[in-house]
């Protein structure tokens, strides 16, 4: 087991290096020079050369990469061109917002999808299951940003109960020392702040959660259906257990394993989905920052964000694999 973990860590490092190389080269090769964007009227070629040198873009790409990698090894991801702030501080400062949003969306998706799957399994073959299948189809076929627009229209404009933009009301004084606002508001027992933060997060979280909830529901329902035909489930029925108890106590534990793997994989996609949804809701997370960085061709910031996303993706995959091994005895003893 330990050997497997170490092997995964090594492959993770290789993956991250590969991502770093690709991102570094690609964003410099595609058209869109940040210095060309900041040239004002009247600037001449010498002004362009001066700014290229100022931002280190006058060197060859391999040389730029070596300099950047040397900094990364020491924890220095460079300085953002647009904000003139250290990249590491910027991306780590925004990471908590994106993580909180993603986790909230994941929780909603798993709870919602789980309940729907259980209800669909309990009433399989009937109208309830048909309605659930139709609902799942709709949830899956509508992309998250469109769900966001629907939610804004419903709960932001027609029945304005949630906040349309931002992460917290500007008028509130925040006593937080971390950027995990939701978590810290609970720790500090500041439920007034918690309520305000949730009011800002619910719509983007729901927009992200709907498609994932549908996937969870479909897969778990299918797994449960298959499990319901196994001998040990039949045995439970012959013991006189009710259908609900059979599903919850007997079938669910085995049926949940494939769903767990899927949730892990989908969580990484969910974090990727925050890019558009955060933009739509002006949520101050990594995704929103990423779009600005791309528009402004803020090369160091793009690199920092992509590397962080890559770290999250590989870490989530690693955790899911380990969790799966723990829950599945066949893998644990392999």
């Amino acid at each position: 087991m330990l050997r497997q973990v170490l092997l995964r860590l090594v492959t993770t490092l290789v993956t991250l290096f590969g991502v770093a190389v690709i991102v570094f080269v690609v964003i410099r090769v595609v058209p869109g020079n940040p210095v060309a964007m900041m040239l004002p009227p009247g600037a001449g070629p010498e002004d362009m050369a001066r700014l290229q040198a100022l931002y280190g873009l006058d060197k060859s790409i391999p040389k730029q990469f070596v300099i950047w990698l040397g900094g990364v090894v020491q924890g220095d991801f460079g300085t953002s061109i647009t904000t003139r702030q250290p990249v590491a501080g910027l991306v780590l400062g925004r990471l908590p917002a994106t993580l909180e949003l993603s986790v909230m969306a994941l929780v909603i998706a798993v709870v919602w999808g789980g309940i729907v799957a259980l209800v669909g399994t309990r009433f399989r073959g009937g109208r309830a299951e048909a309605a659930i299948d139709v609902g799942n189809g709709i949830a899956l076929s509508v992309p998250d940003f469109l769900w966001g627009l629907v939610l804004i229209l419903l709960f932001g404009v027609l029945w304005p109960v949630f906040h349309i933009s931002g992460r917290v009301s500007p008028s509130l004084d925040l006593p937080f020392v971390t950027n995990f606002y939701l978590f810290e508001s609970v720790i500090r027992l500041r439920f007034d702040l918690w309520w305000d933060i949730v009011g800002h997060m619910l719509m983007p979280a729901l927009a992200l959660a709907f498609p994932l909830a549908a996937i969870v529901a479909q897969l778990l329902k299918q797994s449960l259906k298959e499990t319901m035909h196994l001998d040990y489930v039949t045995l439970a029925r012959t013991k006189g257990y009710g259908e609900t108890r059979v599903i919850l106590r007997e079938a669910l534990r085995n049926a949940v394993l494939p769903t767990l793997t899927l949730v892990g994989v989908q969580f990484t996609f969910l974090i990727g989905g925050t890019v558009i949804v955060e933009r739509l809701f002006s949520y101050e997370g990594l995704g929103n920052m990423a779009i600005d960085a791309v528009i402004n061709r803020d090369l160091p910031l793009i690199q920092g964000i992509v590397i962080l996303f890559a770290v999250i993706f590989t870490a989530v995959n690693l955790i899911v694999d380990l969790l799966y091994a723990v829950l599945n005895p066949r893998l644990r003893h392999a």
Binding site: G32, L39, G42, T83, R94, H163, G166, N296
Partner: protein, 507 residues
């Protein structure tokens, strides 16, 4: 009361609704909330990309003062500088500094601040992108309440730059004490509002500067939310979460401005839409260029695609600019276009072909406008292939003089001087120009340093006429900026496009 499942659900829903519900459209607006269309990446208005980004100037002019004030009609007025000018021999500039002004931290504003700010933006190492302008002044010195500098290279527009990009006065003592990073964290200026709270990518909360030399602004507290998505901005105002917003589809603007409780104002701003012609391939044929200009019915495009919000233009100078000449016209004439193309051997059956580049969604209906133009061109015998690119690619290609034969762009010129519109857009050696014709270069060269203002402006009008007669560029329209707002707020639009909270009052 009997508790049923239905009543419990209803009670829960009501509780949630009441809990999250915000006071929407209360009677009096205590705190003005503006949904802005861009994020503010940096508080230093003099360096990097932010310094030359026209859409950010509204933030900066809210907190900082420029050397010279610019009124909503783009004309200059006394600000931190109360008077300014050149010596008779044009070897020196002098600037008189307003007395009694305080920085947001209460410290006195002095002539030293003005001199230091001018010196700082002239230094290449600060990252000032306009160093080439500020560097034309040297040997800055303070004599009492007057700042004097020597003119290293005469630039007739130097005082216009003092209310243009990077022309801001920053606090010398404070900046030197806190450094660049400290200034980003807690910026202070002499402007109408003080920064109270700033959340990157989220909002800035401002408090009125009670000591502002121009008078205390009407709203004590202003929150500017950064809402980059147009649909969300509209929803912000429609729901009452924000009181003012800008830049939305004109159809949405028309729909909402008549709605109860809402109002709208739409005025032309200093930005224009244009099509660059690169002097390569078929664009070296004057008949092709002239036909391409004559075949475009600008007014119909404005009416149909922009709901009438736009002003058709025939030169790169709008009616608000100093060198605008209403006598220069390039009328819509499709038959004339056909005749010109026929003279060069082209026609609807044998069209002249070239590529046109455009952004999509960067400016209102940019792609649709180009589609319409390509359709109009097709009728006279021009077959243009559309290539969509990002604005970043446009900048790079333009700087390298590698744009396609035709390329759509928008040009901003909030000081209205011909050098910063026609000049830099059409002067071959400029990295912003893709037209390299020597005739234009020769016409423009003497104008850069022309000291006689009337002669200078007449010279630029002559350049515009030459450009129009030879169809070296296709000017399209002056943009109109839609501002949607709560009916209880009176908004004074600024022709530069900056949305300024201190120009807003209670209706």
């Amino acid at each position: 009361m009997k508790l049923t499942r239905r009543s419990l659900l209803q009670a829960s829903a009501a509780t949630v609704a009441l809990g999250f519900a915000k006071p929407v459209l209360a009677q009096a607006i205590d705190e003005l909330v503006i949904a802005y269309n861009v994020n503010l990446p940096s508080w230093d208005p003099t360096v990097g990309l932010s310094g030359v980004n026209p859409t950010l100037q509204g933030f900066y002019q809210t907190v900082f003062d420029q050397f010279i004030l610019q009124k909503p009609d783009l004309s200059p007025a006394p600000g931190l500088l109360t008077a300014w000018g050149w010596s008779d021999d044009r070897k020196q500039v002098w600037m008189d500094v307003r007395e009694g002004v305080k920085w947001h931290d209460g410290s006195p504003f002095t002539a030293e601040d003005v001199a230091w700010s001018l010196v700082r933006v002239a230094k290449p190492e600060t990252g000032s992108p306009i160093q080439f302008v500020w560097g034309t002044l040297t040997n800055h010195r303070v004599e009492g309440n007057r700042v004097i500098a020597d003119v290293a290279q005469f630039d007739p527009t130097i005082f216009k730059w003092m209310y243009f990009l990077t022309g801001y006065v920053l606090p010398k003592a404070y900046y030197e004490r806190v450094g660049a990073e400290g200034f980003e964290a807690a910026p202070i200026g002499t402007g109408p509002y003080k920064v109270e709270k700033y959340e990157r990518n989220a909002f800035v909360r401002l408090k009125a500067n009670a000591d502002y030399w121009g008078g205390k602004p009407e709203f004590d507290t202003v929150t500017i939310k950064f809402v980059t998505d147009a649909a969300s901005r509209v929803a912000e105002v429609e729901s009452g979460n924000s009181h003012v917003t800008l830049e939305m589809p004109y159809e949405e603007f028309d729909r909402l401005k008549g709605k109860a409780g809402l109002a709208g104002v739409a005025k032309p701003i200093s930005d224009i839409g244009m099509i660059f012609f690169n002097d390569i391939d078929v664009m070296t044929d004057p008949n092709v260029r002239k036909a391409a200009v004559m075949a475009v019915d600008k007014q119909t495009i404005i009416d149909r695609l922009l709901s009438g919000y736009g002003v058709a233009i025939d030169t790169l100078e709008t009616p608000d600019y100093d060198a605008y000449d209403p006598s220069i016209k390039t009328p819509y004439d499709p038959e004339g276009a056909k005749a010109l193309l026929a003279a060069s051997g082209y026609g609807p059956d044998k069209p002249v072909k070239f590529k046109i580049q455009t952004t999509k969604g960067f400016k209102p209906k940019d792609y649709e406008i180009i589609q319409a133009i390509v359709g109009l061109w097709r009728r006279v015998g021009i077959e243009a292939e559309i290539e969509v690119y990002e604005i970043a690619k446009h900048f790079e290609l333009r700087a390298a003089d590698q744009l396609a034969p035709a390329a759509f762009y928008n040009w901003g010129n909030s000081v209205g001087d011909p050098t910063t519109s026609t000049g830099f857009a059409m002067y071959g050696p400029s990295p912003h120009s893709v037209w390299d014709g020597q005739d234009v270069i020769d016409m423009i060269n003497p104008l850069w340093g022309e000291a006689d203002e009337a002669k200078r402006i007449e010279g630029w009008k002559g350049v515009s006429r030459h450009i129009a007669e030879n169809a070296l560029v296709l000017p399209l329209l002056q943009y109109v900026q839609p501002i949607l707002h709560d009916a209880r707020v009176k908004v004074t639009p600024h022709a530069s496009g900056a949305l300024l909270p201190h120009l807003m009052t209670r209706a």
